[in-house]
């Protein structure tokens, strides 16, 4: 054996591991303290930026009371859109979206906040040609059982080649978001 016996005692081995973990802990701990505030601030910034990318011409985003993470995009005191979160199960875990809905309950835009869909296939759902299919559509045109087609049919959602599950999931989430806003409007006013 190349190493001597005194290095083999359980205590020495345990101390060795303990030392490695303590050093690692100190490094990570101090870095976390140093960067956490910045990370939180960036997170906020990113959120505002994503709201802005949804409804660009609003001058204020008001949180809607009683609904978590719901925002009303205001312009000159008028709500021009509601931005609401939506979620559904995709091909690889949950897909989280933000959907902007106009006051007359049509889709204005959506963005995908979080998804693990296959790069190059399912994650095309966040790209423009696909997203544009939803713009201006109301809940009646987005029924997840009927609206999705594989062919190029007018007025329907053409699914992404090879990613029917993702397409259906996104359609369902957007549909539910529109429905939720419609229900909220009915109850709220």
């Amino acid at each position: 054996m190349e190493h001597s016996n005194k290095n083999d005692s359980i205590l020495k081995i345990a101390l060795n591991l303990l030392g490695a973990c303590i050093i690692s802990g100190i490094i990570i701990g101090s870095l976390y303290t140093a960067t956490n505030d910045i990370a939180v601030a960036k997170q906020e910034e990113l959120k505002t930026a994503s709201l802005q990318s949804m409804v660009a011409d609003a001058d204020e985003y008001k949180e809607i009371e009683g609904k978590e993470e719901w925002f009303a995009a205001m312009k000159d005191g008028q709500a021009i859109a509601y931005i609401v979160p939506a979620e559904s199960r995709g091909y690889a875990g949950a897909i989280e979206l933000l959907v902007a809905v106009t006051p007359d309950h049509k889709v204005m835009k959506y963005i995908i906040v979080e998804s693990k869909e296959t790069p190059g296939l399912g994650d095309k759902a966040k790209e423009e040609p696909f997203v544009n299919q939803f713009i201006g559509k109301g809940a009646d045109e987005l029924d997840p059982d009927e609206a999705v087609t594989k062919t190029n049919e007018k007025g329907k959602i053409q699914s992404i080649a090879g990613s029917t599950i993702t397409t259906r999931a996104v359609t369902k989430a957007v549909y539910e978001a529109v429905e939720a806003v419609a229900a909220f409007d009915k109850g709220g006013h």
Partner: protein, 207 residues
Amino acid sequence: MENWKIFAKGLILENPILVLALSLCPAIAVTSSVMTAITMGLTVTYVITLNNVVVSLIKNFVNPKVRVPIYITSIATIVTIAVLVLKAYAPSLYKELGIYLELVVVFAIILARAEVFASKNSVGRSFLDGFGMGCGFLGAMVIIGAIREVLGNGTFLGFSVFGQAYDPALIMILPPGGFILIGYLVALFKMINDSREKRQRIRGESA
């Protein structure tokens, strides 16, 4: 010359993916587009280079019986540093990398270089070895990613290559296409290495 050899062996002669056949999982999982392949390649290059340096620095303090857990701790620390820094200064890039960044911790190639090379060599040589292996990994990822994206999606880095008329071969983006392609590339690298060996033998005999 010797330093160059340590660096360059990772590129073709001992390419981590296509010759050593280590870390095939990311080579298929994140190569369906060039962009993700590049990001993954750069991340691995960073982790493997830094980890080789750290392992080489601490090699005399590590008890051989617990070397693997300690190497893993070192890799995990380096990856966590990257996560924290990215979260604070480039959150959108962090989001883009998703779960793959954390998965780097368990990549076989990183532990393999720590065990095979860095634990036995000086800091400088370990740095070159890690950097060379990282570049070889990056290169292989980009080759695989480029072929898959061009054939399977008709684009390169998101720009259309063949125009609208091209009907993409969808299988190239799916995992089976990745497997088939890697098989061909492994064969190609084997041919390159074999002919190089033959040339060297002939040169050796004539001398």
